[in-house]
Amino acid sequence: MLEFENRRIVDTSRPPEVPVKLVDDFTPELIDVGAHHLCPGCGEPIAMRLVMEVLAEQELKNRALAVFGIGCYTAFSNNLDCEVVQALHGRAPSVATGAKRADPNLVTFTVQGDGDMVNEGLQEVLHAAARGEQITCVLLNNGVFGETGGHMTATTTIGQRTKNTLEGRNTDDHGHPIRIASLIAELEGAAFVARGAVNNAGNVARTKRMVERAIEVQLLGIGFTFVEILTMCPTGWFVETEEAPAYLDDTIGVANSPGVLRDIAPDSQSSSSTTIS
C-alpha cells in the first residue's frame, strides 16, 4: 500500500512498558485455541467467541451446555471450555430439549449451521420453538453446506453459485430460500428471535447484545430463543477473504436483514413484538 510507505510501524511483539489497560485479550474465557482449522476469514469462530463471552460475563460457564450439530463448527467444539453434547446433523434441538427438560438448571444452547438446522433439522427447530422449549438455538448461517465443500442449502440465495448449483441457484430448479428466523418469529412459543451478523465490528457488538438478551430470556423461562448469525464463508462463496464481509451484506444479508424480529419478554428494549421481518 503505497500511501503507507513511510508510516511508522509499532512494535507489537510484546506488551508496551508504559502504563496501559488491557481492553481485549487473545482468547476470551471458555475458548481454548491452539490453532483451529476453520478457513481464513471464516465467520464462525467470531460468532462462537461472542457466545462464549456472554456466558463467561454472565457467570454461567459452570451451568452451560452446548449441543452441537454437524458442520465446520463441529470441530470447534473441541476448543470450548464448556460442557458439550454432540448431536447428529439437524438433531441438536431435540437433544437440547431432552437435556433442558431433564435438568432445567442447565443454560442450554445449540450451535448449528444452516444446512444442519434449515435443511436436515427444519422439523426439529420449528417444533422446539412451537413448544416453547427453554433453549437458545444459535444458527450460524452462511448459505452453504461448508463442511462438504460448499453446497446449496435451504438458505442459499437466488443466483448464488455452489458446487451443486454451478450456474447459480434459480427458482425453477431449486425453488426459493427459507427465511428461517421469520418462520420462527411466527410461532407463539418463541420468546426472542433475532438476526445478527459478524461481518463488521459493529455487527459483532450488536449480535453479542442479541445473544445476551436470548440467554436472559432463557433464564426468565418464557420460551424458545433464537439467534441467527450471518457468517462469512469465503471458501463456499468463491470470494476473496477480504471481499466476504461486503458479499454477505449484498447477498444473504439482503433477505435476512439483521435486527430483532420478536421479543415478548418483560423489560425488553422494544415494546412491539415485531420490529423487522
Binding site: 502504563p19 481485549d24 476469514g41 469462530p45 462469512m232
Partner: protein
C-alpha cells in the same frame, strides 16, 4: 488514495504534520494469523497493514500496526483467529508519523 483523502482518519490524533497520537496499541500473535485481511478493512483509523513479503511459519502474511491506533478493538472483535491483544494507553503516546526511508518494510 492519498493521505489527505482518508476521511476516516481525519482528526484521529495528528498533533502536527510530523507526529501522530496513538491512544492504543496491540500485541499481534503473528503465528496465529491466517492472512484473511478482515482486520485491515475493519480498522477505523486504518492503521493495520498486511506484510508484503514476510510470511509467518504457516505461510501466511500477517498484519503490522502503524502509529495512530485508538484501541477500539475492531480488529480483535473481527479476527477469526484471535490474533490480537488490544491495549489502551493511560496517557496517549505521540510519536513521529513516519520512519526513516531506509528502514526495511516487512
Amino acid at each position: 488514495m492519498t493521505t489527505a483523502s482518508r476521511p476516516d482518519a481525519a482528526g484521529v490524533g495528528e498533533t502536527d504534520a510530523g507526529s501522530i497520537m496513538s491512544r492504543g496499541t496491540l500485541v499481534i500473535d503473528t503465528e496465529a494469523c491466517k492472512g484473511c485481511w478482515l482486520c485491515i478493512d475493519a480498522c477505523p483509523p486504518r492503521v493495520l497493514e498486511m506484510t508484503t513479503h514476510t510470511l509467518n511459519s504457516r505461510g501466511y502474511r500477517y498484519p503490522v500496526l502503524l502509529a495512530g491506533c485508538t484501541g477500539c478493538r475492531a480488529c480483535s472483535q473481527i479476527c477469526p483467529d484471535f490474533v490480537f491483544q488490544v491495549f489502551k494507553y493511560e496517557t496517549p503516546v505521540i510519536a513521529p508519523l513516519t520512519m526513516p526511508a531506509d528502514e526495511p518494510r516487512p
